[in-house]
């Protein structure tokens, strides 16, 4: 009997902290979003806040904006990250370069990364200055605005800068543990280096690739600091919008803000579900 409960006991502290705090937060958000806020006298449960969200054009714009940014940056980050990881695998002896590659962008917090992008990509940033110096640019205003723009280009570049090394690190760690002899076997059977990469290495790395994709996608979707600092006034990404509604001084707006938060959390849960399903699909055999 004792042996069977042991794992549960071991998990208990982690479960209490995570479950306890997360669910309490969600429960409160949920109840307030349904209109139950005894402090200000609202006691009726109602779905009207959710309805107003779905019908709000601004909400749909925010949602589209968030999804586009996340999708675009994550896909690029994964493709380049995997290429980088493979390059590192081939040049295995360069230990020092790996450290810089992985560690620096991971240490740099997102707000600083946003600041860095601002320094380089804004209209008075380094890039336009260099272009001006080379004669390619004639005036400051000729440089397209990449920060605070409607398409969130600065945000995307910022995410890519931080995420490529992360993906490279996760994938590299994974593939460096794959048996090296598999490459000998493949070559021995007639595979060229490219064929080995496509037909053996890539399929075997899927778990780490998908894993890192989902993490960076979900993270960029729910992130606050970067779009708040270098994002446009419209459209706002969903988390920024949720936060701004929350800080609205009118307390009657609170249920609306909470509803937004619940929707945000719900979309995140869908992402987790998709992660679980795709991972089990790809990783039966490895």
């Amino acid at each position: 009997m004792k042996k069977e409960i042991k794992p549960y006991i071991l998990l208990l502290p982690a479960a209490i902290v995570l479950l306890g705090i997360l669910t309490s937060g969600i429960v409160i958000a949920l109840s307030q979003s349904l209109g139950y806020m005894p402090i200000i006298g609202l006691r009726e449960l109602t779905l009207k806040y959710y309805v107003s969200i779905i019908t709000d054009k601004g909400f749909l714009e925010s949602l589209k904006f968030s999804l586009n940014i996340s999708l675009f940056s994550s896909v690029i980050a994964v493709i380049v990250g995997v290429a980088l990881a493979y390059s590192m695998l081939i040049n295995k002896h360069r230990k020092s370069i790996e450290k810089i590659l992985y560690i620096l962008p991971i240490i740099v917090p997102h707000m600083v990364a946003a600041f860095l992008m601002f320094n380089i990509l804004s209209q008075s940033g380094l890039l336009p200055r260099v272009l001006y110096y080379l004669g390619i640019l004639k005036a400051q205003s000729d440089f397209p605005s990449l920060i605070f723009d409607r398409y969130g280009v600065g945000i995307v570049i910022c995410y890519i800068w931080k995420e490529i090394p992360f993906v490279a690190m996760v994938v590299y760690t994974f593939i460096s543990n794959i048996n090296e002899s598999l490459e000998e076997v493949a070559v021995n059977l007639g595979a060229s280096r490219r064929q080995f990469f496509w037909y053996v290495m890539l399929p075997l790395s899927w778990p780490s690739i998908i894993s890192s994709f989902i993490i960076i996608f979900a993270f960029s979707f729910g992130a606050f600091e970067v779009p708040y600092l270098i994002g446009p006034t419209t459209p706002k990404t969903l988390p920024v919008k949720a936060f701004i509604e929350y800080t609205n001084p009118d307390i009657l707006n609170r249920p609306y803000a909470m509803a937004l938060n619940v929707v945000l959390a719900f979309i995140s849960l869908i992402i987790v579900w998709i992660y679980d399903k795709t991972l089990s699909l790809f990783c039966r055999n490895v």
């Binding site: 048996n179 002899s181 076997v185 021995n188 059977l189 007639g190 060229s192 053996v200 490895v286």
Partner: protein
């Protein structure tokens, strides 16, 4: 006709010489064993032949052309490794068809070939299984099938049976021999198991310390090993110091008639199974009989191993006769010295 010739291969790793002028050859359709202890360079030789490692010097000649300049993936010299190394993300069919896919063979032809291999290796009903769902023997068969599918010019087997248990090992040996003879594939078998080498090969190349000590048929190697080291490969032997003079072998146990050239100093090698054990009580009146005492006995079912002490020297005797001598019992040993091999002192290596 010589199919593959390995000429003067030399290889060093980190300053340590692994291969020292390795020379041997294989005729078309033959199977040659590369026999040696673990770590003496056998696998390295295979990898050099396959092009996965470069030798420091030497040549590899296939069908009278040097293949050193051909890239590894184009050589068609396939290795079956000791730990099967099946691709974990591919099922049996796809693993077997891997080489064909890399060569761009049409799907229909590939399918037929794969089916042919599957029936040859008795892997029916396992086509869709993944490596982790297969047993050790099944995996090894898939690995073999994967190599055979691309119809290699030379098949290189790197101790493929050593991770299997005995019954399976014997089955696999028979299977490989059958297939090898049927398809007449030139094969090199790397092994450290003397039985395997003797049983399976047309010729054996005994590798000691990175050199080929002897390259000959199994019978010749076993009956006439060229040095004590080669001899010891096939089981512990007995060595008696002495000298040969005019057809007489003189040692501390007496003088015996032999048909060997004169040598000043050396050792006479006598195989344990060539020593006859006789009861002490019987009187044979023959000159090449010695008296001894049984010191150790190991029962092996079909044979019994004895250690018999004669005048301070321990003799290893293997007896298939069902005479049961006990430890401490006095016995007589009859040795036919004319069947022994004499090594001069300078030949010990």
């Amino acid at each position: 006709m010589t199919k593959l010739q390995i000429k003067n291969l030399n290889k060093s790793f980190d300053g340590i010489k692994i291969l020292n002028n390795v020379n041997f050859f294989i005729d078309d359709g033959e199977i040659v064993s590369l026999l040696g202890e673990s770590g003496c360079g056998k696998s390295t030789t295979l990898k050099i032949i396959a092009g996965l490692i470069e030798s420091d010097s030497g040549d590899i000649i296939l069908d009278e052309c040097s293949i050193l300049s051909i890239q590894a993936e184009k050589r068609k010299t396939v290795i079956v490794f000791q730990n099967h190394l099946l691709f974990p993300h591919l099922n049996t069919e796809d693993n077997i068809g891997f080489g064909l896919k890399m060569a761009g063979i049409k799907k229909s032809i590939k399918k037929n070939k794969v089916a042919e291999i599957i029936s040859l290796l008795k892997l029916q009903r396992l086509e869709k299984r993944y490596p982790k769902e297969l047993s050790g023997g099944q995996r090894q068969r898939v690995a073999l099938g994967r190599a055979l599918a691309i119809e290699p010019t030379v098949l290189l087997l790197d101790e493929p049976f050593s991770s299997l248990d005995i019954r399976l090992r014997e089955e696999m040996r028979e299977l490989v021999l059958d297939i090898q003879k049927k398809l007449r594939i030139t094969t090199i078998l790397v092994t450290h198991d003397k039985e395997e080498a003797l049983m399976m090969s047309d010729k054996i190349a005994v590798m000691i310390n990175g050199e080929i000590a002897q390259f000959d048929t199994p019978e010749n190697i076993y009956e006439k090993p060229v040095s004590p080291s080669v001899a010891d490969f096939f089981g512990e032997k007995n060595y008696i110091e002495g000298s040969v003079n005019n057809g007489i072998f003189e040692c501390k146990f007496g003088s015996f008639q032999v048909e060997l050239p004169s040598e000043k100093n050396g050792e006479m090698m006598i195989k344990p199974e060539k020593i006859e054990l006789l009861c002490e009580t019987e009187d044979y009146g023959m000159s090449n009989v010695m008296n001894g005492v049984v010191k150790k006995k190991r029962y092996l079912g079909d044979k019994v191993h004895y250690i018999v002490e004669v005048e301070g020297k321990e003799f290893k005797v293997i007896s298939s006769e069902h005479m049961n001598f006990n430890i401490g019992e006095k016995v007589r040993l009859r040795i036919d010295f004319s069947k022994g091999i004499f090594y001069s002192m300078s030949n010990r290596c």
